[in-house]
């Protein structure tokens, strides 16, 4: 089992700072997700860890050993590419065993590992097929198989599910997590999909413009977002963030030193005359089945509430919105950072 420690890692291309001084640690045997919008430097970071790209600054340690200058093959990693990178002229079995052959693993051991991987991934009947004769999900499994048989302590994956349909993505999410546990690999998994991050990760490293926005467990990230960006990136629909005026009330005009964040599921719709309730006018209603999203305007802010079942509210109606003290997140509007935790 190997931990991965990244320190002040940077990769610049001319004036583009794809990665700008990133430090974090992934514990041995845990599942870390590198999360962030497209272009924030996730792939660059993963490729630096893999050794496919060389950093302009900083260091990488795997299992205590500085691997910053080592070639990919010497780092004890396996990698699954977004496009799978299967060899089109080789059969499934040959694809899976390619690395073992190159590393001169003997034939009996190769066969043993191939059989195990095929069993784990349900590839038994497909071993003689060519990649072009497989569906996207099956190709994905072959790519996983190639990573598994390497028995590398660290496994890197770059958006491995983004080419699959929603149903398959859901199944593979569970399956990859299960495999990672069973084989007790250290996993570093890149995605732009916050649902994947929340459901799979032990640790989420949220990136933005080549810097770390927040590095925390999924529940901590959800409950205590460190910045407005983190708050709005996690959760569907995202957290409501509205500007506050000098008295700490929701501002009538945009701008203001502070911002208030409340998650839609923390807001309840109450009669307008309820004491302490925020009075707002309903702008739109979105019925989702299990619940309804009610979007209402208050001053310059727009608040979305998630109401269970089908809400009996009309657009244009005046309603009261209420939430508890604990559900409030206060941010500094200039820095974008969290200022105070709600009192516990």
């Amino acid at each position: 089992m190997s931990d991965v420690v990244v320190e002040k890692l940077a990769r610049h291309w001319g004036t583009t700072k794809a990665l700008d001084g990133v430090s974090f640690k992934v514990e041995a045997g845990s599942f870390a997700v590198l999360l962030g919008p497209s272009g924030c430097g996730k792939s660059t970071l993963l490729r630096l860890i893999a050794g496919l790209e060389s950093p302009t600054g900083g260091s990488i340690r795997i299992a205590g050993q500085d691997v910053t200058g080592l070639p990919p093959a010497k780092r004890g990693i396996a990698m699954v590419f977004q496009s799978y990178a299967l060899f089109p002229h080789l059969s499934v079995a040959q694809n899976i065993c390619f690395g073992l052959e190159v590393r001169h693993v003997d034939a009996a051991e190769r066969k043993r590992r191939l059989e195990r991987a095929a069993e784990l991934l349900g590839l038994g009947k497909l071993l003689d097929r060519k990649p072009s004769q497989l569906s996207g999900g099956q190709q994905q499994r072959v790519a996983l198989g190639r990573a598994i048989v390497a028995q590398a302590p660290v496994c890197l994956m770059d958006e491995p599910l983004s080419n699959l349909d929603a149903q398959l993505r859901h199944e593979m999410r569970l399956e990859i997590r299960e495999l990672q546990r069973r084989l007790s690999m250290t996993m570093i998994y890149v995605t732009h999909d916050q649902v994947e991050a929340m459901t799979m990760a032990d640790q989420v490293v949220l990136l933005r413009d080549g810097k770390i926005e927040q590095d925390a467990a999924p529940d901590a990230l959800y409950a205590h977002p460190a910045t407005i960006f983190a708050a709005r990136f996690i959760g569907t629909p995202p957290m409501n963030v509205v500007d506050l005026d000098d008295e700490g009330r929701i501002a009538d005009a945009p701008g203001g030193a502070g911002a208030l964040g409340v998650r839609p599921e923390d807001i309840v719709v109450v009669p307008i005359e309820t004491p302490g309730a925020v009075q707002a006018r309903v702008e739109s209603i979105e019925y989702l089945g299990a619940d309804t999203l009610v979007a209402a305007r208050k001053g310059a802010g727009r608040l979305v509430a998630r109401v269970p079942g089908k809400a009996k509210i009309e657009a244009g109606a005046a309603i009261g919105l209420a939430w508890t003290q604990e559900a409030q997140h206060i941010f500094d509007n200039r820095t974008g950072r969290r200022v105070a935790d709600p009192p516990a």
Partner: protein, 291 residues
């Protein structure tokens, strides 16, 4: 669209190309076959059916055998080397090195040059005494050689020039194929610790097989279609030492005006090319992976 209408549309779309192809390729081919079984029409002596006489005459003609053997060595000398060189250059030019655009251009230049210009350049290289090769040899005190005038060297001279011209052309096809290969494959292999040679042997080369087949077919056809440079440089001489099949056909047809014999030789040339192409497609197709 109904099936019948789709068929009509299909034929209509194919029509123009098919008419042109039939008029200028298929029909002449059949006419050539016809002529090869007839005598050449001369004044007062119209063409008559002569059966296999023309073929018999060909088999008895030492120049034909010489041209055939020359052409064989010419093909053997040019094809593997120019393809191998093309592949090497393509692999090199595909690397991320400074000035690679210029390098690619430089390799491709021989292909762009007009044939007569190429012949002229090489005529200078091969000139006895003050030609490029002899000047270099002169530096080492070696005596002048009449490269194109000696039966022993002339075919080699043609081979060298052809390799120089063809390698850059074939390189373009390899380069295009290499550039369409996803870089992820090399990265996936690098993570497994696969060396450059192993990667080439196990991945790059097999994936280039369709290109190799294509280039090979073209090279073979090219080797038997060679005429212009020979006419410009040696006209098949000295003593038929650089006589190739197509040069001979040209001579027979347009210098001696022996249409029937030229047709006979053409039929043989077509048969050779057809057989080679067929063998290549049947044999290699089995071993090639097509995406």
């Amino acid at each position: 669209m109904s099936k019948a209408r789709a068929t009509i549309y299909g034929w209509l779309l194919l029509g123009p190309a098919f008419v042109l192809l039939a008029a200028f390729t298929h029909w002449p081919a059949i006419a050539t076959l016809y002529h090869s079984f007839h005598s050449t029409a001369r004044r007062n002596r119209p063409s008559v059916y002569v059966g296999l006489d023309n073929y018999q005459g060909m088999i008895d003609d030492p120049v034909f055998w010489q041209a055939l053997i020359n052409n064989f060595w010419y093909a053997v000398g040019t094809i593997p080397v120019s393809i191998g060189l093309a592949l090497l250059m393509a692999l090199w030019v595909n690397e991320k090195l400074a000035g690679r655009t210029w390098l690619r251009l430089a390799y491709f230049t021989p292909t762009v040059l007009p044939m007569i210009a190429v012949a002229n350049i090489w005529l200078f290289f091969y000139t006895p005494d003050y030609g490029l090769f002899d000047q270099i040899r002169g530096l080492f005190g070696l005596r002048a050689t009449n490269w194109l005038g000696e039966p022993g060297t002339v075919l080699g001279c043609l081979i060298v020039m052809t390799i120089w011209k063809e390698a850059g052309f074939f390189m373009i096809f390899y380069l295009a194929a290499l550039q369409s290969m996803p870089p992820n494959l090399a990265e996936a292999a690098a993570i497994e610790g696969c060396g450059r040679w192993t990667f080439f042997r196990r991945v790059t080369f097999p994936l280039l097989m369709p290109t190799t087949l294509f280039v090979l077919v073209n090279a073979v056809i090219g080797a038997f279609r060679m005429v212009d440079h020979v006419v410009a440089l040696t006209a098949g001489g000295p003593n038929n030492a650089s006589m190739l099949l197509l040069v001979m056909i040209y001579d027979v047809a347009f210098r001696y005006w022996d249409v029937a014999y030229a047709a006979t030789l053409t039929v043989v040339l077509l048969a050779i090319l057809g057989t080679v192409a067929l063998i290549q497609f049947v044999v290699l197709e089995k071993r090639i992976h097509y995406r």
